[in-house]
Amino acid sequence: MSEPQHLLSILLLVPLLGCLAIACSPEGMARKMAIGFGSALFAVSAWLVAQFDLSRASEYQFVERLSWFKHPFPVEYFVGADGLSLSMVALTGFVTLMAILASTSIGNNRPRLYYSMLMLLTFSVLGVFISMDLLQFFIVYELELVPMYFLIAIWGGPRRSYAALKFLIYTFFGGVLMLASLVYMYSQMNASATFDMVKLASLTPLLPRDIQIMSCLGFFLAFIIKLPSFPFHTWLPDAHVEAPTPISMLLAGLLLKMGSYGLVRICLGFFPYFFIDYGPQIMALGAFNIVWAAAACLVQQDMKRIIALSSVSHMGFVLLGVASLSSGALNGAIFQMVSHGVISALLFFLVGAVYERTHTRQLAEIGGGLAKQMPTLFYFWMLGCMANLGLPGLSGFVAEVTIFYGAFTSPMAEWISKGGMVQGWIYLACTGVILTAGYMLWLLKKLFYGEELPKWKGHLHDATTTEKIVAYTLSFSILALGVYPAVLTRYYQPISDKMAAEAKEHIEIGFDTNQQQDPEKQVH
């Protein structure tokens, strides 16, 4: 079977053309064109999935390379997709289309600019997932800031400029750190210096240990700011609360995944020693995120803030899974990226649907009993909440349980000197199971259960057709992924297995040297 040419370029061109075409079209046409381009994007990503050769899932496919100049450093257009990229691309195509459909509330508020920005955002997100050149990766990673800043700052809520600026500063700070690391790494590689990510994945693990750790630090900080992780998570609730509904869907569904994708692809793929030396600490950070953010949800009064903080909690699972260096947990962490992308898109969409009707996000002002006038939305909410708290049969469960199982049987947890501590952090993470159930059900109760307030009588209405389409589509994907996760895992499983196996080789060296440094430990 001959591989179709230029598929990835077409994929990148669709949103880029969309961005330009919508910007030049009349305001009235903007939404229709955006739906058209969104569908086209979805179709191309589906085509990509169909053409993907599963037997070579761990290799880059559809590779395209154009060199621009080579001196003093190489700059090129270099794209390709392996199973991991492919999963992310499919997620992007899907969530973007959903977000475009959900953008009804934008209405007449400069739709042309809005949809054009949205397309630019999609372009940069896609670029991140399929870049094979590190410099290009960095550029598109930073490019995403521009449309996102405006999307929040123009169409956001009352405190939008504060939130947009906070988002910008945090992410920009990360971006600069990443650039510093990038330059540092490049300079340390001497003759073999390159930005080719395939070559880098085989070369950088050979760098001296300290250099790996130094180089990784900037990348790691950049990605955990994006993820986001404690203590850099405070931009997220603000950004979410102010952002309009579809932008929240994109922010939680896709933008956070750029951080976790980078964590897997770059931090773990390039610098295994970083995880070997600091794995237990990173797992601790992940576990702490899970519990901290879940606990924070218990005291929030704003429903959107709760969902935003629950994202922090769920991305903690990714940290926990990636740092454990077990193929099972890594597999689960990648699953969590996709699963959380869909679940959080659904939840933010539902938050938006309630907000549009009640014009408040404060739980105390809503006062419960909404189920009376919004039964359909109530069921979708139930499904979303259940998926978020990890109900078996829905996608959240797959990720949680495999991360727990994997982390607990990982080399980290069985490491003689530090395993006990690692296990302790996993126990802590497990309490998240209770906390998540607590706040999700509490939220559901505050919104839908009980008697409805007199002020809502006859003022609310149930889901519209568009809302039903979006919610049904997202719900079905959550259900499908949860019932039979192999539909997704088969695309990237060889990659997670390979990465874990490579890390394991380094572990054998890494753990040995650790024990040599620690002679007392060997006596025991």
Binding site: I211, F397, E414, C430, D497
Partner: protein
């Protein structure tokens, strides 16, 4: 017995997955569109479970007649695979599972028929059937689970169905609270269950070659007992660590089967519609805990397969619960709550059975209890229905005349649960108590006393509800046929199933004066565990006589206090204003203050403290430090204010310069 030949029976065994799939499919279809028509929803849901019952009986027949010669049938698919481990989902059918399949499908079928009468007027009729179907599917999935992981999955699913159904009337504040409480308490149990599984997985993951990870049964030494044995030989597991694992996993059953101290959700779960209380919170779901312990029994033994401390924990928890719930049930006035506490108590009995080694007794009691307790709940539903929502037994009385069928069935159920001779509860309870007497005499005596209390509170309920004169204001009437027929059908097993677990040869031997602890096997035990199964009880005439006497004493007290009203002990307790009697009465009425303790801790202590701590830490430290860094830059930007005007740029520039400087320093002084 079904007219099927062996090869057909074999087909049924090998396609047991259909039993699980049918109700799920029905539930899905109802949700996706059939809910528009009430009749269609009902028919779909009922026919799925009728099919399930038929299929289950065929499996049972295949296993009894040895048409399927193997001891078990197992089939798995890879649900999640990676290099480190593969999680499987599958279908396991053996004798124990086939019995549970029949119990679940039979009770579910009757409850679904009953629902048609009970919920006919409710606007959520179709939704109710959808949930019922989903629940039935999940419960059946739990029964046929092949491994601990799958069991955990379906375990949560039955829990969430229970959540939906308790909160079915979402507009009731009490229901909203109760469903959330049920789910969260169950999650606390599941937390222990999860950690237990993790520890168990860590210890045994290398010993499943050729079998299913965490699988219950398997050939070539991949069953649970052999895996634990192999792990113990390789020093991957010790008696101590297995004990810890068993205790952690037991947290799951403690929550699901409402055992002390995680029992608090069950009485509140009565906020759900009564058919649910019968199906989920009496007959099937709450028995899942017992089923899990029975299924994964080797975990609760010592690594070399002997009875150990973990089983003592099981028995102790069961005994405490049985006793505590019985004392509470004596003073409750809500008809459903009395039954709920009695469920709690009876589940305690089952755990005592498992814990003291009267293994078949525990399962046997589960089997009997499922039928008579479902019937009792359905009767209480009929009473509530007939009295238009009245649940307080102080406003009932004399219903014998207006509701004869309900009265008859309730009386049968009361006799069965109270342990009257020849009714089903008598046999299984006796087996448990005599087992306890052998290993833990104290628990045995406690269980005997509890049996007396059971007889007392059940007859108190019966007398207050059905005898005397009517004290309320409604117009009691008998229920429609859709509700009375299931009651009558359920009364048959309540009377007869006891004989399955009783071998009359043992009674004859005992009467002839031969004294033996281990008598001949009975039908039930030999079916569940094979002729060489763990434990068989002979007949101990003294014990049997004592337990009959105690049950009769309980009955007599209830008779004298609530029917003839010649003895006033109960009133004396209720009206005491001081002293020990008042204390005891309040303790019972207020459910041993467990709810107050929990809610007090959570609402008054934990949450406020947590809120304060959270505000402090997040607002001061996180925001403070991170914004403090920002402030640093802002102040730096203040200096640059005359050059730069835009705030964003000045932030960015300063950050950029700072980081570039750091990178430069790192470049000049590389760490070696």
């Amino acid at each position: 017995m079904l007219p099927l030949d062996p090869s057909q029976l074999k087909w049924f065994v090998e396609h047991a997955g259909f039993i699980v799939a049918a109700p799920f499919l029905a539930g899905f279809l109802i949700i996706m569109g059939l809910r528009a028509s009430k009749t269609m929803s009902m028919i779909t849901s009922v026919s799925a479970v009728v099919y399930g019952l038929f299929h289950s009986i065929a499996i049972f027949q295949a296993l009894v007649t040895k048409a399927y010669p193997e001891p078990f049938f197992q089939q798995n698919i890879d649900w999640f695979s990676s290099q480190a481990f593969t999680l499987s989902v599958g279908v396991l059918v053996d004798n124990l599972a086939s019995l549970m399949l029949i119990v679940v499908t039979a009770v579910s079928l009757l409850v679904q028929i009953y629902t048609h009468g009970y919920m006919r007027e409710d606007p959520g009729y179709s939704r109710f059937y959808a949930y019922l179907s989903l629940f039935t599917g999940s419960m059946l999935g739990l029964v046929v689970s092949t491994n601990l992981f799958q069991m955990y999955g379906f375990w949560e699913l039955v829990g969430v169905c229970s959540y939906f159904l308790i909160g079915f009337w979402w507009y009731k504040e009490s229901a909203a609270k109760a469903c959330m409480k049920a789910f969260v308490v169950n999650r606390v149990g599941d937390f222990g269950f999860l950690i237990g599984i993790l520890l168990f997985l860590m210890a045994t993951k290398d010993f499943y070659q050729g079998g299913v990870l965490l699988g219950f049964v398997g050939s070539n030494g991949t069953d649970l007992a052999s895996v634990i044995h192999k792990a113990a030989e390789a020093n991957a597991i010790t008696a101590g660590s297995l004990f810890v694992i068993a205790c952690l996993i037991f947290m799951g059953p403690m929550a699901k089967s409402a055992q002390f101290p995680l029992h608090v959700w069950l009485p509140d779960a009565m906020e759900g519609p009564t058919p649910i209380s019968a199906l989920i919170h009496a007959a099937t779901m709450v028995a899942a805990g017992i089923y899990l312990v029975a299924r994964a029994y080797p975990i609760w033994l010592t690594p070399d397969g002997q009875m150990g401390p973990a089983l003592t924990v099981v028995a102790t928890v069961g005994a405490i619960t049985a006793f505590m719930a019985a004392t509470i049930a004596m003073s409750q006035n809500d008809i459903k709550r009395v039954l709920a506490w009695s469920t709690c108590s009876q589940l305690g009995y089952m755990f005592v059975g498992l814990g003291v080694g009267a293994f078949t007794g525990g399962i046997f009691h589960l089997f009997n209890h499922a039928f008579f307790k479902a019937m009792l709940f359905l009767c209480s539903g009929a009473v509530i229905h007939g009295l238009h929502g009245e649940q307080d037994i102080r406003n009932m009385g004399g219903l014998r005349k207006s509701m004869p069928i309900t009265h008859f069935c309730f009386l049968i159920g009361t006799m069965a649960i109270a342990g009257f001779p020849l009714f089903s509860g008598f046999f299984s309870k006796d087996e448990i108590i005599s087992g306890a007497m052998v290993n833990h005499p104290f628990i045995g005596w406690l269980m005997l006393i509890t049996a007396g209390m059971t007889a007392f509170y059940m007859f108190r309920l019966y007398f207050l509800t059905f005898t005397g004169t009517y004290r309320g204001n409604a117009h009691p009437h008998e229920s429609p046929a859709a509700m009375t027929w299931p009651l009558l059908v359920l009364s048959i097993p309540s009377m007869l199933t006891g004989y399955l677990g009783f071998n009359f040869a043992n009674l004859q031997a005992a009467l002839a004066g031969e004294h033996s602890e281990h008598g001949l096997p009975n039908h039930f035990a030999s079916f569940v565990f094979g002729p060489s199964g763990p434990h068989f009880e002979g007949v101990n005439l003294t014990l049997m006589g004592t337990s009959i006497a105690i049950a009769v004493f309980g009955f007599a007290m209830a008779y004298l206090m609530y029917l003839t009203r010649t003895v006033h002990i109960a009133r004396g307790f209720a009206e005491a204003r001081s002293g020990v009697r008042q204390m005891l009465y309040n303790m019972s009425l207020n459910k041993w203050y467990m709810d107050d303790i929990y809610f007090g801790l959570v609402d008054r202590v934990f949450l406020p403290l947590f809120k304060r701590a959270w505000t402090l830490i997040d607002m001061v430290f996180v925001e403070g430090i991170v914004n403090g860094v920002g402030l640093l830059f802002v102040s730096a930007a203040e200096v640059l204010k005359y050059l730069q005007t835009g705030r964003g740029q000045s932030y960015a520039l300063v950050i950029f310069l700072a980081v570039a400087g750091l990178a430069w320093i790192a470049y000049i002084f590389p760490i070696r």
